[in-house]
Point group: C2
Chain length 519, copies 2
Amino acid sequence: MFETAELGRSIAKAEFKQMVPDLRQELLELQDTLHKNKRFPVILIFAGVDGAGKGETVSLLNAWMDPRWLITRAYDDDEDGDWNWPEFWKYWRDLPPRGRIGMFLSAWYSRPLLDRVYGKSNDATFVNQLERIVGFERALARDGALILKFWMHLSREEQERRLTNLENDPLTAARVNKRDWEHWRMYDSFISAAEQLVSRTNRGIAPWTVVEGTDSNYRSITVAKILHDAIAHRLEEDQNNGAKNKTAATGKKAKTKKGKQSRDAATTNGAAYQAARSITVLSGLKMEQQLSKVQYKERLIDLQARLHRMHLSAKSKNIASVLVFEGPDAAGKGGAIRRINAALDARNYQVHGFSAPTEEERARHYLWRFWRRVPSAGHVTIFDRSWYGRVLVERVEGFATEDEWRRAYAEINDFEEQLNESNTVLVKYWIHITEDEQLARFKLREKTPYKRWKLTDEDWRNRDKWDIYEEAVNDMVQYTSTSAAPWTLVEGNDKRFARIKVLETYCQRLSAALGEPAD
Amino acid sequence: MFETAELGRSIAKAEFKQMVPDLRQELLELQDTLHKNKRFPVILIFAGVDGAGKGETVSLLNAWMDPRWLITRAYDDDEDGDWNWPEFWKYWRDLPPRGRIGMFLSAWYSRPLLDRVYGKSNDATFVNQLERIVGFERALARDGALILKFWMHLSREEQERRLTNLENDPLTAARVNKRDWEHWRMYDSFISAAEQLVSRTNRGIAPWTVVEGTDSNYRSITVAKILHDAIAHRLEEDQNNGAKNKTAATGKKAKTKKGKQSRDAATTNGAAYQAARSITVLSGLKMEQQLSKVQYKERLIDLQARLHRMHLSAKSKNIASVLVFEGPDAAGKGGAIRRINAALDARNYQVHGFSAPTEEERARHYLWRFWRRVPSAGHVTIFDRSWYGRVLVERVEGFATEDEWRRAYAEINDFEEQLNESNTVLVKYWIHITEDEQLARFKLREKTPYKRWKLTDEDWRNRDKWDIYEEAVNDMVQYTSTSAAPWTLVEGNDKRFARIKVLETYCQRLSAALGEPAD
């Protein structure tokens, strides 16, 4: 989930300086409107890895906006035992009224996370605490609150570097304490609990944004932009609803127009930000990796033999498998699937390809057609395209509304959690190819008679949306790659390399499920 | 929670026979419209106590409606271990498409409940399973499904009678098995788990209706009416939304009007049903109970002394108390509160009266003004009127929308659960008086100079809404009386009797919390 926040996104100092004045001005204007019409409160949560800039961001927002209408609250975790009131009493007490912005540091997320990491709570209790939070945020959101949550992330190495830097500077040394280092040593369990925390509490009414915390310019602009857009969007919605209910709405409408113009200006201004955003999980792939024919043959025979053996063993232990293949057109999904099938007992696996849903399928929830094809105990089902269509093609083509595809992340996580719980190995592959490689393959298909049928006009049209798809893939990985159901990104420009990586990954996951030593 | 389903509501055979033809006709028409426009699926859940009529109701609906467009599914719990698929696979498989009605017997509620009752799962696991159900139903509801859930209830005695009757009739004897009697013996733990189940999964998107199962006529009409109204309401909503988006909507509008007329006819027809509904938890109170002055004095001194002692003991153990007083105007809340205060250390308790919220309070969530007054450890806070205003006065007067007051039940349960968890004794009193008694007290107030200020025009106006308030109180008890935070209904026509019952109840709850033997 957090791999999307280790991409090295940054904004250079000069560009940052150029962007800030406009952004500040707009934030101040929005804050003023918010304060004057007192329609709803804004609640911001800043949580994440120590040293990733939670405190700095809050300070910066205090400096950029009008602090009279801001409420900032931090709670000292160490004093938790001292509280004489029910835990949420202090959060209720400190809620901002309509028209103001409340900024909360960790707050209600702190104790559940620390208790889990320190082993003071078990998984079921942790989940209950997170559900309580969802209930709390839902109550506030339904009452009108605009809730935004930022998870500030750093890699383990980056966190070490940050803590060391802070310690070495006399001005900031006092901000690093023993506990920060203790947390750093527990990084892996911290991240695994955080993953569950973010995915369980990431609801449409109170969404998380995972923010890469390494570069402070990128971090600040990201938070400020999201805050800006969310408030502006909500004010506009409110105004439109208001305008509908009023007859003398001329003055109001003019105002909306002005608001739109200034926002458009800000968007143009954010080219550096857009450039930083365009770095995705896919940008980091080493697409030049390849295998020679000889290496390939050798590895293939070896892996297929191993898979065959493990497959029988999994069958006898009632361990099912679900393999998901996604990727651009012509990425080589079919070829990779055939190399897996060759190693399996044909009575025991099923391949399902998916395109547009049938009428029967459209009459039901979008997950229905996938649920009914889930394998029974010990069986293998391969999905050539899958439920991820909801957040890929349906998102990009507008077949699903924003509300629909956004809530799909949680629905998908829930679905996959149920597969995991029922003794199923779930492997999800994104087989990636570059734009150039796709073009080359399309051209080859045009020339090859027995491959020509595979190529449609739509395939060509989709190429125009390459960047939009890439953003959708990045979001998909961010919200649905969990430690229990991680995405495997496969460098697919070399088909041989891709096929071996696909087989290898499945073998590793199967052998882990069988309790065999990895070899 | 289930006391609202032990009120002896019934509909006589003659009236039932008179109501059925119209109701059937309307259900068939609705089913036809639903099937023709294929806008959404309807999902009905029937769960509850064995013998309360789940199966009979489903059979009846199959007889009353067009079975071609009905899907009925029951799942055999005994075969749970045999399933080769993830648990929810079969529920997904069996989902009705848009335009059809699916009726599910127990289904996804069966295993969590039985596991909890048989001690196979602990509380945290149970809650997790219920949250999974909420996630499932939410996904379906957001996709458009209309979900209605019926909890069929019987008292322990009534269940015994039903099972015995079924066994004695050769035609039905086979329907009773050893497990039914086993469940009957576990009645109390079954009900306590069911209470948690219903309250945790009772969401606006998929609400539970607790149905009194004793009288089959009342039960059948209740389910059919609710089903009828929900489908009609939803079709109308859909049509209105559709009409808004169309220009040539004249034909459609005429149709809506016709639908409305026939529904109105059905409502008039349902006088017997309305009469049955008007029996509420308050109807059952023995309002004539009273105490003589001598009995009262004796009990009062005794209870106050006991309360004083326990109060100090609770303080030393950091046990807090929250006392909630609700009831009609002039019910004697103030007098009862003063009798409690007299026994407490003044430094240690606080009385808060609530009327309309202030501007500061209105700027926040309605629970805010109550949360901030929650007692700290060891203290006592008395709420003279409370958060229940949301589902009483705000509901009746229209200050809260239906959506707002409906979701308040779950928010209130969540709030009270948090009080319970933080070492707080929570006692909720509804002090009840009859309409006549209120009138007598109002007249007395008018004549007594030092009481006259207490009486306002609004008090008189509220008397016109007596029945509507009574229905609101019944719903409030149904949805917020849980084993951890039960309502105490106090017969208040005799002030002495009421005050003693209030003191006694608080003493009992405190002594239980202190682990003292009840005396």
